[in-house]
Amino acid sequence: MDLLLDAVVIGVLLGCFYAAVSIGLSVSFGLLDVPHVAHPAFLVLAAYLVFFINEHYGIDPLVAGLIITPLFFVFGLAAYRLYYETFERRGSDAGVRGIAFFFGVAFIIEVLIILQFGVDQRSVTAAYIGKSWRIGDMRIPYRMLVAFGVAMALTLLLTLYLSKTYMGRAIRAVAQDQEALRLMGANPIRVKQWAFGIATAVLGLAGALLIIVAPIDPTLDRAYIGRTFCVVVMAGLGSMSGTLVAAVILGVAESIVLTMFGASWAPAIAFAMLLGVLAVRPQGLFGRRS
């Protein structure tokens, strides 16, 4: 029983971490319909940059994540522009070719990381890494609490941005009706580019969490393709609060399976849940039928 309670508590925190690494995809894939399979590769790239800054300048990984945030915003703007010019503007079969494009980008990023940092695992140092908080018999690692706090902040900020600002509302509208959005005097391509910039900028902090939570290696992105897409699809495309809830469900499920059946099963959970959601409730838990 204690074991199960432990697993649930850790699972909730793990889930919040998953929310933080998925929420950018909730914007790029969920709201913009961009088949962004390079999202996890961008995430790992961010984690390596955080590693680099932490190692060379001794800067706290979260601060390092904030430092690279504007950089990633610009990177996102450029990546969308390239995707748009080469694929999206040509129309109909952009879907499949778009996936190929982003797989290519992910592959290039992986290779560049290996060339620059090698294949060894990397980790960062910070006061809150390696220590735990004890409540009764339970030990909660501080690094998971950090992930929890950052995930909450990101979800809240993105939700507010998307509902309270003109640009945020345009971002939610752009996938619903581009031509109507043009009639409002907004340029849909620029709206999408901006949104993709934000979806990428969020990866600054998410990448910091990735390396705070556990050591990283260049192929770690593969483990996160299933998880991030599972979370975004389960959430119902484009729902920020849904992303948090779906991520917590995945985190708890993984944590329980890990406790009961061992670590080798955990990575399969995301794919199993993704298939389950697609079969039973394709509009996601919080998606609305259109």
Binding site: R169, A173, D177, N187
Partner: protein, 245 residues
């Protein structure tokens, strides 16, 4: 405020499809002008040209505001909205998963419109009280008539002076068609909006229009200077009043 729209010799199309051929038309300040035509004759294409959504292949389109002429063929939709042109598109084209209020606020996307949002929101709610009651409802869950009102109100949010309305009657019951047309007439009367309205419903359109054009296969075949002249026209009698339609 003097505003007029002058279109002359306009050709437009989609790839091999020619949708407009040598269209000439003008709208003067304060008028309500009807663009009449049955399915597929080019009404929407003409409206989209004015709004900058479709680029004409030939001809001229100019909007004169206080004596200054603006060449619409060279401007983006953003710039055209800034000049004070708003369109209520055919089929409403709301953002169904956003609330009524969010739809309205998107109508005020341009920087100039954001500064006027309080006033325009008040006008929209005063004109269509039901929208105020339902401001938190998702647009896609409203009835057809309410959606048409929202589409019109959303267009008002950019402080337009020229309102393009494309087939407001589509998909509405006769009673709602009549109410919607009356509302558009009131916008012209009360807010001083200049209106260009595409319609298939002849009898409803001429209730509020002061004059009109008939478009057939992308060409203007009748340009009438009054509603009486329209009603007396042989082509109109054949198309709309003679029982074929």
């Amino acid at each position: 405020m003097a505003l007029s729209l002058a279109i002359s010799g306009l050709d437009a199309g989609y790839g091999a499809v020619k949708a407009l051929r040598g269209v000439s038309l003008h709208v003067e300040a304060g008028e309500t002008v009807a663009l009449l035509g049955t399915n597929g004759n080019g009404k929407s294409t003409l409206m989209k040209c004015v709004a900058g959504l479709v680029r004409p292949q030939r001809g001229s389109m100019s909007l004169t505001i206080d004596g200054v002429a603006h060449d619409l063929t060279k401007l983006s939709t953003e710039a055209i909205v800034d000049l004070g042109v708003a369109m209520v598109p055919e089929g409403r084209r709301l953002f169904p998963k956003l609330t009524v209020l969010e739809n309205l606020m998107l109508g005020a996307f341009r920087a100039a419109a954001r500064r006027e949002i309080e006033r325009n929101l008040a006008v929209a709610f005063e004109t269509f009280p039901v929208l105020k009651e339902r401001k938190s409802q998702l647009a896609g869950t409203m009835s057809g008539g309410q959606q048409q009102m929202l589409a019109i109100a959303r267009a008002l949010m950019s402080s337009p002076r020229l309102l393009l309305v494309d087939e407001p009657s589509v998909g509405l019951s006769p009673l709602l068609v009549s109410q919607t047309i009356t509302k558009i007439g009131e916008l012209n009367q009360n807010l001083g909006l200049t209106v260009l309205m595409a319609e298939q419903n002849f009898n409803q359109a001429v209730r509020i229009a002061s004059r009109g054009y008939i478009i057939v296969h992308g060409e203007i075949v009748v340009a009438a200077n009054s509603v009486d002249e329209l009603k007396g026209n042989d082509i109109v009698k054949r198309l709309y009043l003679g029982g074929i339609v």
